[in-house]
Subunit: 400 residues, 2 copies
């Protein structure tokens, strides 16, 4: 029994290494897992027989001697369905083992809000379509979703989705029901999932303490502390967008408060600062400001500097609090940050205690807008990775 | 070997339970540790023979049946030396197993600063005195120190001690040297240690996610995330006093920035707000304001409200970021908080997302000014608790 438990854990760990790295030699697996090569070979054979990995001769390593076989995930044959409810779009994707997006469907979403039924209907339709067009031998091993709001862990209940006006909407349960699953789809906050994805596969690789700021209309956050996502007592931590940085003179925020970080650096703040019309909105409008600033337009540059100053106040506070190794700017902040970096750096130099900023790096997201989707996929893969041979029960029946 | 390792871990866990709880029945130990009662008895016998615990018949439990023996720490016989360098005082104490302060020495410290030599001389003198007057059969098992600044983990180097003007001063090494020890005294930041003490023995007992604000001249912080102190990449996290809450109109801060939480709610801010003379300072002056406010003095009350508003901005930000179960006000904030609580609560209601504040509690410190000293003692006990029978080598030779 103990033996069986150890074997299961080893299989899971090996599969996780292959899933996260994409391609690992047997020798590297033996070293990282502290197991001998014959054990690695036996574990790999089991995973191969289950259709989860395959072994290949490595491409020329330039070294003499017999090369170690390379283990790769069966990306095309083992996948999850990942869903992303963002402010401006609904996305569904088929994401293969190894975290590769194989196929996707995208729908624009009106800002005016949408009811649960309509959102779930669109996503479930996409999901069935993606599942139905997958190769016949491919297996769906899980489902996961990202949502731009506060999510109750466990059942995917949206406690608060400000831009849609959702309060206590059973999103995970409804999506699961509509997909014909026996239980709720696991759901995570978009910035939490983006942070995990960036740490596992993106700019945060190798960092144990990391701040991820996710710009959408507002600003969400995912904070990694000691290698783990900061969740707090109820799973509602990391709301850095509602850190008040300008309490007495701040712009009103969608949350009902005033001077929140997202009110000062969000989409509306930037467009207003750049003097754009009040009825303009969306990612394209925002990118236009960034492009104009790049061309030297003074109002656009000034707008980015103003946003950068507030962003710097917020980031400096976070560095004082978390002493992170890296701060990552994702979502729309990936576009905004380069033109605002000088102001951010100045604020950090002025406001952060020298000892706490000695080694911090500032980077833009490596995964871009896919970070949330890749993070959602990770929710779908979690059962398979916990028990690779017990878990390969199709999450959805074959689509045809 | 594995057996020996398990035994050592069980001994350490049992001693830790007794150390933290003060008095635990064998039955409760068996239940909490998941071991049978004969194993608990054997472990307890070993710890008793080593002079670390003793067993007693419980006081009348009011229940029928044979009562379970109660295990207590040998508080008088097993102690550490704990040191505390605060802004206004230097303290040393003999702290017995179980976290009980047995004896202490205290010296006022001038605000003007003090050099390393002088501070270490006073503390080492106190330490020798406390050690020398301990009962002849008592054993000193460790040493630990608290310091009001940023400390490098491992060697007790003070990286930044703003009120003394210390930068990179080898406090831990010098104190160890002066006490005749072979290695540096482990040192922690005062608010970090206070947080750990409050979580283990104070208002934070049972909370896994906790914010501790420690008011001295400024405001330090200790943040517990998932049961562990938030340390960050270098051990310099939790600097919530330097979270900027008033970036453009703020008071200058000792760190060189402006509008930091500690600049808006620290001792000077409160005394200024209450219209006290600029040359007045210290805990007594501050308590006078609190007392006057209690008597209905309008200027003093208004000062507390003003500080409470800024304190609320800071605490609201922390709740949005950490979704903690409890926020604890310690150090001088223990005195200030009751007269400022309404403003703090109003800010939390206005600035924190409802979902994140559903269950948070606000409390004052249970250990008061002893929190840092008790936390420093914990550093001294850590080796004994890790290996109770291997670790009982006197940290200091007998004093006589």
């Amino acid at each position: 029994m103990l033996q069986e438990e150890i074997r299961r854990r080893n299989l899971g760990n090996l599969l996780r290494h292959v899933h996260l790295d994409g391609s690992v030699s047997r020798a590297a697996l033996a070293e990282r897992m502290g197991l001998n090569r014959s054990t690695i070979m036996a574990l790999t054979l089991e995973l191969t027989a289950a259709g989860l990995v395959r072994e290949e001769a490595p491409t020329d390593t330039g070294r003499t001697g017999r090369p170690s076989l390379v283990v790769r995930p069966e990306t095309a044959g083992v996948y999850v369905l990942a869903f992303d409810v963002a402010v401006d779009w609904l996305t569904a994707a088929r994401v293969g083992l190894g975290g590769v997006i194989l196929d996707r469907r995208l729908a624009a979403r009106p800002r005016a809000g949408a009811d649960l039924d309509r959102v779930v209907e669109v996503l479930a339709g996409f999901g069935r379509e993606l599942h139905g067009t997958a190769p016949p031998e491919a297996v769906c091993v899980g489902v996961g979703a990202s949502y731009c709001g506060m999510i109750r862990p466990g059942d995917g209940m949206v406690r608060f989705g400000p831009d849609m006006g959702w309060v206590d909407q059973a999103f995970g349960a409804e999506l699961g029901h509509r997909l014909g699953l026996a239980r709720p789809v696991p759901v995570g906050n978009e910035a939490h999932l983006g942070a995990v994805a960036e740490q596992q596969r993106g700019a945060g690789l190798g960092f144990q303490n990391m701040i991820y700021l996710h710009g959408d209309v507002g600003v969400g956050g995912g904070i990694i502390v000691g290698g783990k996502l900061l969740d707090g007592d109820g799973g509602y931590a990391c709301e850095l967008g509602h850190m008040v940085v300008n309490p007495h003179h701040g712009r009103p925020c969608g949350c009902g408060s005033r001077g929140c970080l997202e009110a000062e650096v969000g989409e509306r703040a930037l467009l207003d600062a750049a003097g754009r019309p009040a009825d303009l909105f969306g990612r394209d409008a925002l990118r236009d400001v960034v492009t104009d600033a790049g061309r030297g337009d003074p109002a656009a540059r000034e707008a980015l500097h103003r946003i950068g100053d507030w962003l710097g106040v917020g980031v400096a506070n976070l560095i004082n609090l978390f002493n992170p190794g890296i701060v990552i700017f994702g979502g729309m902040l990936r576009d905004v940050y380069p033109g605002a970096a000088d102001q951010v750096r100045t604020r950090i130099a002025d406001n952060v205690l020298p000892v706490a900023r000695e080694r911090v790096r500032l980077r833009t997201s490596a995964l871009g807008d896919d970070a949330t989707l890749v993070g959602a996929a990770e929710l779908g893969f979690s059962e398979l990775l916990a028990d690779p041979l017990g878990g390969v029960v199709p999450a959805l029946p074959p689509g045809r």
